[in-house]
């Protein structure tokens, strides 16, 4: 039936995280794809129920190392909804800045990984060189390069000093020129276009049907951005536009990310200029009551939703997390089947999958592999 089965993962150089794709080939053409998740599953949803709220913020920050502050912001925002707690405006601004800088690192990583997948290691190196400027800013603001842990119930844990603001502004200025260069590189380079244009096409209809989110949806022309819709944190006062693209292929997804980097820089600069001295944290009014709340943010990869339910103790009764990659997984079969084996890493990288986020939903009781048939995933349309 199929010529050959190629196992793609769980230890594979194209992905830093473990996922297991089985790719069925005829020659070089992909006939079918199976995938198994769960290599990253730790059982966080259950573990969160045993930790009290103040500690579980740190665990949500460690669901994913790339969108760490997205998770913890979403979680704390949910807790604040449960407590009816208003946070100081300065804290909102600092959260916004960290959030946008993190989006910047994530997008740079994604574009770099795309370069790596198509064999363009120089693009990867360039992206990682520029990424250091952002990490430097984040280190100044939060004290850590990767997992930031700046959120706490009622505000943030660290204040911004004028020197830090000055340095961050300077770094962002440098970064803007560098990203400008990246944009010309990506749009002008023939080989990048040859490898990405027309690969993994998703049209507007697919996006709406499969409820895809984030840059994947925006690249197909659906302006779905929680920052604009929900106006959480300080986004209501900041000026930015939602980037969309009409093509919906891998190139469009990469291009949307590059364009969003400019918006991130602009947003963080605006937020930095709005910072005035003031408190950074409001004391929470305990105890918790029986309540439920929904919290959404626009993580670097798309809409992230937390459903929280509290009881009278200081431990959550139930936390349900829907991560952006989990929503985007549905389109895997659609974008892979019919393409060449060489296109698998390109399509995957353009989705920017974050399996650490996704896998927390799966439960594996023994060592057996559970494989989802790809037809299961797109059999219904």
């Amino acid at each position: 039936m199929h010529d050959m089965m190629i196992p793609f993962g769980p230890a594979h150089p194209a992905l830093p995280e473990p996922v297991y794709l089985k790719i069925f080939l005829e020659g070089e053409e992909i006939q079918d794809v199976d995938f198994a998740v769960g290599y990253n599953h730790k059982g966080i949803e259950k573990a969160l129920q045993d930790l009290d709220f103040s500690k579980s913020i740190f665990m949500t920050g460690r669901i994913c190392g790339i969108c760490s502050s997205a998770h913890s912001t979403c979680f704390t925002q949910g807790i604040e909804k449960l407590l009816d707690l208003e946070i100081p405006y300065k804290a909102k601004l600092i959260r916004t800045i960290v959030f946008e800088l993190e989006r910047l690192t994530s997008h740079l990583l994604c574009v770099g990984m795309l370069g790596h997948e198509i064999g363009f290691d120089t693009l990867f190196m360039l992206c990682f060189r520029e990424r250091e400027y952002v990490l430097n800013c984040l280190e100044l603001i939060t004290g850590k390069r990767v997992v930031h842990d700046i959120n706490t119930i009622g505000g943030v844990r660290r204040d911004l000093s004028p020197e830090i603001i000055k340095q961050v502004n300077k770094n962002l200025g440098i970064l803007k020129e560098k990203v400008e260069y990246l944009r010309t590189l990506i749009t002008k380079d023939l080989l990048i276009k040859k490898r990405t244009v027309g690969i993994g096409k998703l049209d507007k209809n697919d996006v709406e049907k499969l409820c895809l989110v984030g840059p994947v949806a925006r690249a197909s022309g659906v302006p779905y951005d929680i920052r604009k819709i929900d106006k959480y944190l300080a986004y209501d006062d900041l000026d930015f536009k939602v980037i969309t693209h009409k093509d919906g292929d891998s190139f469009a997804r990469a291009f949307v990310r590059v364009q969003e980097m400019f918006e991130c820089i602009r947003l963080s600069k605006q937020a930095l200029s709005m910072i005035k001295p003031g408190p950074i944290r409001n004391k929470p009014t305990l105890p918790f009551t029986e309540k439920e709340a929904i919290s959404r943010v626009e993580a670097p990869r798309g809409e992230l939703i937390y459903y929280l339910r509290s009881n009278t103790t200081n431990k959550p009764e139930r936390v349900k997390i829907r991560t952006p990659t989990y929503a985007n997984l549905l389109c895997l079969g659609k974008i892979l089947v019919g393409h060449k084996l060489a296109d698998v890493p390109v399509s995957l990288a353009s989705l920017d999958p974050c399996l650490c986020c996704t896998d927390r939903v799966t439960v594996v009781k023994d060592g057996k592999e559970q494989i989802i048939k790809m037809e299961d995933l797109h059999g219904h349309h």
């Binding site: 769980p10 730790k42 190392g65 760490s68 190196m125 990682f128 390069r145 990767v146 997992v147 650490c356």
Partner: protein
């Protein structure tokens, strides 16, 4: 064939010294994530990038475990990945060194009570170097690799 020859004359002090020197100068790395949060994995990539550049010590990130000398493991070991980890460990040719990166792989860290985690890396395979941090900075990762090389030459 030829390695047999090398082994035969391996008792010679000079040959041995050359061998040790070359081992020290060319550590190839294989990286595997056992279910961590991605933070450490990204920092390994950052250690490859122009600012830190571990290739200047001759380190290369290899895709196949058979080419590697150093096995970098990140994350707490979950139940599904356990057998894979053992399998990959067996595929790395001797002499080899295992480096556990980040607090998760050292002690399972914050995920200690999660039901699908079956323990830190050293409960499953022997670990030579521990690099703490959540995640460790690229400098710390490079330092861990250098310590690993020291152990590698003694093996």
């Amino acid at each position: 064939m030829f390695h047999v020859v090398v082994d035969c004359i391996g008792d010679d002090l000079i040959v041995d010294k050359i061998k040790k020197y070359c081992q020290k100068k060319s550590p190839w790395i294989f990286h595997f994530c056992t279910g961590g949060c991605n933070g450490c994995d990204i920092e390994i990539l950052a250690a490859m990038s122009p600012k830190y550049d571990f290739e200047r010590f001759g380190c290369l990130l290899k895709g196949s475990p058979r080419h590697a000398d150093i096995f970098l493991v990140t994350g707490p070991v979950n139940k599904k990945v356990k057998s894979r980890l053992i399998n990959l460990y067996k595929q790395i040719p001797e002499p080899k060194v295992v480096i556990a990166l980040g607090s998760c792989s050292l002690s399972t860290g914050i995920f200690q009570k999660a039901y699908n985690v079956c323990g830190p890396v050293d409960k499953i395979i022997p670990v030579d170097v521990y690099v703490p941090g959540c995640p460790p900075k690229p400098e710390a990762i490079i330092d861990g690799i250098v310590k690993g090389i020291g152990i590698l030459t003694k093996k």
